[in-house]
């Protein structure tokens, strides 16, 4: 099997020690990759089935365009993890860089299916142009979470930096922690005691905002009421 190293094609066995037997059924295959993978890109890109377990930190674009199977990373991942994925599951035990589940630069086709779970923090613009699927973030999120999203669900258990859902057309964003600020082109609709994400009930109460009206969007932005006292002034519009 050939892989690119810089601008040259190299045999995979020149770069990795490889053990194990090939199997005709992708579903039965589990790849275990370990080592210093910080500069290794596109692990599991276009994956359709099977399982990959990575030990250590990995580089950009892990799980790019994956449509099935499962990737488990016992470490951190760099930017564009799960970008443009259409199915399957990507779980990161550590943190993720920017553009988690996003579209590639310039494209409007973000993640459209599958599930991404990040146990740590994520960078900016997670779920950018997301169309479907679920992203669960147990840590904190950077700015512009779900920017331009038109479908799917994102839940952040921790805090979130500025402007979640900016330019969103549809879909659902739930933030359980503190949000530094939201764009003014969201309107408050009501206060919900609970919200469901991918079948899981999350306890609130949550402010429910609709927007981004600047883009004629009707996305739903749920923000924890108890953790965001600075948003209390919105209640007068209810």
């Amino acid at each position: 099997m050939k892989v690119w190293e810089g601008n040259k094609k190299r045999a995979l066995r020149d770069l990795f020690e490889i053990d194990g037997e090939p199997n005709d059924s992708p579903r039965a295959i589990t790849l275990r990759i370990s080592g210093d993978l910080r500069k290794v890109r596109m692990i599991g890109a276009n994956m359709t089935d099977g399982k990959i377990i990575v030990k250590g930190n990995v580089g950009m674009r892990i799980g790019e365009k994956m449509s099935g199977g499962e990737i488990l990373v016992e470490g951190n991942v760099d930017s564009w993890a799960g970008c443009m994925m259409t199915g399957g599951r990507l779980e990161v035990k550590g943190s993720a860089g920017d553009y988690l589940g996003a579209s590639y630069r310039g494209s409007r086709k973000g993640m459209s299916g599958g599930e991404i779970v990040v146990h740590g923090n994520v960078g900016n613009e997670a779920g950018c142009f997301m169309r479907g699927g679920v992203i669960k973030i147990f840590g904190n999120s950077g700015g512009f979470l779900g920017v331009h999203m038109s479908g799917g669900e994102i839940v952040v258990k921790g805090n979130c930096n500025e402007y979640p859902g900016a330019g969103m057309l549809d879909g659902k964003i739930v933030i359980c922690g503190l949000v530094s600020s939201i764009v003014p082109t969201f309107t408050i609709e009501d206060i919900k005691e609970t919200v469901k994400v991918n079948g899981e009930k999350i306890m609130g109460p949550f402010y429910r905002f609709i927007g981004d009206i600047a883009d004629h969007g009707h996305g739903r932005l749920y923000i924890s009421k108890n953790r965001n006292l600075h948003l209390k002034s919105y209640e007068r519009y209810l």
Partner: protein, 568 residues
């Protein structure tokens, strides 16, 4: 290097050679009568067809709008990239490829000359820098002059000689090749949020009409004895019902006709729409082709649409705004001082879209209904209708009714029902393909040493691995497509540059430009020079000294003096 191409089936329409088995000899980059076989590299072209190198009369491959398109579309780079090899450099981009791979991709298809059709004069330096970076092929570029304030001013006052002098200065200063008009008057009106509605709608702030601009510049073109005609992107391009404007545009210069065509309507498909709105859109190809078949003063190129993702770019700002409104895509709009404007927007043509399917059909209808292949040329208006790499598919559609029918089955049902293609059984021959892809274009561009394989011609040659004696293109259209996709050999200036789709040598081609000022007498030339100097201080944001492109700035310039030009 001397070359001897042996036993090829030669298609050289300019010299009346149609599929004859013969040898072609090459010496010092030119075609010669014979070479010493023992001292020449011999190419066995048995069972292959040999044509002059391909020429593209209209392809957006360099300059500010192309580069802005590249910046706008990183996702286009992401899906298509080429690694460097021992002889080639790397590059990216499918619909707006970077300069190096643009040259390589054309060379792989057997093309050896390409013309960049819309250069804002202010951006000429940038355009030439990119053209210089585009390897292998020869190049030419057309400055946009149909909305230049000075042209509008002079034509409004009826000062045709002064207008000609300024146009000549501009073509020489920017190292241009032909006069390009884009939505004449409409681009200027767009600067004020308007467009022109028809040929007699006056341009705001100037009073001159599109008709006067077209007629005026056609006259100027003749006065300067330019090698190419005026190259016109019509008013109301892309609007339903615009075929009447196109017919009027052609007719408005019919009285200036002589033995040569006087106007080239570019990417005519976009200007051949019937109907009142998008839902009633119909093909106007029948009316356009009827006119062209009965008048000899017009040439056209197709502007074929192929169902794919691409990037649209044109100086026609209002049209790009319409596309933005239709698609909602990201877009760029740009105004170029006193000269012109532009717009760029990604676009996907879909088979199941009624409008897109009608557009696909119109271009083929035009090519098939216009009887004289010398007056219609194969283009996609790259990248507006599709990337130029789709040419082999278009060739197969032109050569095979079966190939067209297969695509017709896949398109929007309403569009299929209304398509004229169902009643057209014409199929292009290899000779006609040679005309619409090289010989006709060379003739339209006034290129004496290109587009043919006669003695003294440039040794720009394409050899395709298909035997025209045994292959029936009507049935085996896939073989045709494969053959034209990767030329068996592409020879540029007598050197083998590509073999079976692999670039084996990368050289740099030449840039052809017209020294139109040489058409003027010394007194007029000096007067214009002084006038321009004064106006530059008043109107432009850059200094005159930085505006003029000196010939030494180009890598390999070839200057064409209109007065000394003689027709083949």
């Amino acid at each position: 290097m001397n070359l001897l191409i042996k036993n090829g089936l030669v298609y050289d329409p300019i010299n009346g050679v149609e599929g004859e088995e013969m040898d072609i000899a090459v010496k010092n980059g030119k075609i010669v009568e014979k070479v010493n076989e023992r001292r020449a590299k011999v190419i066995d072209a048995s069972g292959m067809i040999v044509m002059p190198g391909g020429i593209d009369i209209h392809t957006h491959i360099a300059g500010s709008e192309v580069n802005a398109g590249r910046l706008l579309r990183p996702e286009d780079h992401f899906i298509d990239f080429e690694a460097k090899t021992e002889v080639t450099r790397s590059g990216v981009g499918r619909s707006v490829p970077s300069t190096f791979i643009t040259g390589y991709r054309y060379a792989r298809m057997g093309y050896t000359m390409i013309c960049n059709p819309s250069m804002p004069p202010l951006e000429a330096r940038h355009t030439h820098e990119e053209l210089d970076d585009t390897p292998i092929v020869d190049k030419a570029t057309y400055p946009l002059l149909g909305d230049w304030w000075f042209v509008l001013e002079y034509l409004e006052k009826g000062l045709i000689r002064e207008c000609a002098a300024h146009v000549a200065w501009m073509i020489s200063a920017t190292k241009g090749y032909a006069i390009k008009l884009v939505n004449p008057g409409g681009v200027e009106a767009w600067g004020f949020g308007r467009n022109v509605e028809d040929l007699d709608d006056p341009v705001p702030n100037f009073g001159v009409t599109p008709r006067e601009i077209i007629r005026g510049l056609c006259k100027v073109n003749k006065m300067l004895n330019m090698p190419h005609t005026i190259h016109v992107h019509t008013n109301r391009l892309g609007q339903p019902g615009n075929f009447t404007t196109t017919l009027e545009t052609m007719e408005t210069v019919s009285d200036m006709a002589d033995e040569r065509p006087v106007i080239h309507i570019t990417h005519c498909q976009f200007s051949a729409f019937k109907g009142d709105d998008w839902s009633t859109l119909r093909s106007g190809a029948e009316e356009i082709s009827k006119y062209v078949n009965s008048h000899s003063h017009v040439t056209l190129d197709m502007g074929q649409v192929v169902f794919t993702d691409t990037t649209t770019m044109t100086a026609d700002g209002p049209w790009q705004y319409t596309l933005y409104e239709i698609s909602g895509n990201k877009w760029i709009n740009h105004d170029v001082e006193t000269e012109t404007g532009s717009g760029i927007l990604p676009f996907r043509y879909r088979r199941k879209s009624y409008v897109h399917a009608v557009m696909w059909s119109i271009a083929l209808e035009l090519a098939l209904l216009i009887k004289d292949p010398w007056r219609i040329y194969l283009t996609t208006d790259h990248p507006n209708g599709a990337p130029f790499t789709t040419y082999p598919r278009i060739i197969s559609w032109l050569m095979s009714q079966k190939a067209r029918e297969r695509m017709l089955e896949k398109i929007n049902r309403k569009a299929r029902k209304r398509s004229l293609l169902q009643d057209i059984d014409r199929e292009y021959t290899f000779d006609e393909i040679a005309i619409i892809t090289r010989a006709g274009q060379a003739k339209a561009l006034g290129l004496r040493s290109k587009g043919h394989l006669g003695i003294g011609a440039d040794a720009d040659i394409a050899i395709y691995n298909i035997d025209s004696r045994t292959v029936d293109p009507s049935r085996d259209y896939r073989k045709v497509r494969r053959a034209f996709k990767n030329a068996a050999y592409t020879i540029k200036s007598g050197r083998i540059v590509a073999r079976n789709g692999v670039i084996v040598e990368s050289i740099f081609g030449r840039t052809l430009w017209v020294d139109a000022v040489s058409s003027l007498d010394d007194e007029t030339a000096t007067k214009v020079s002084k006038d321009i100097e004064k106006r530059f201080r008043e109107y432009w944001t850059i200094e005159l000294e930085n505006y003029i492109i000196p010939e030494r700035y180009l890598r390999f310039p070839i200057c064409i003096q209109p007065r000394r030009r003689s027709e083949k």
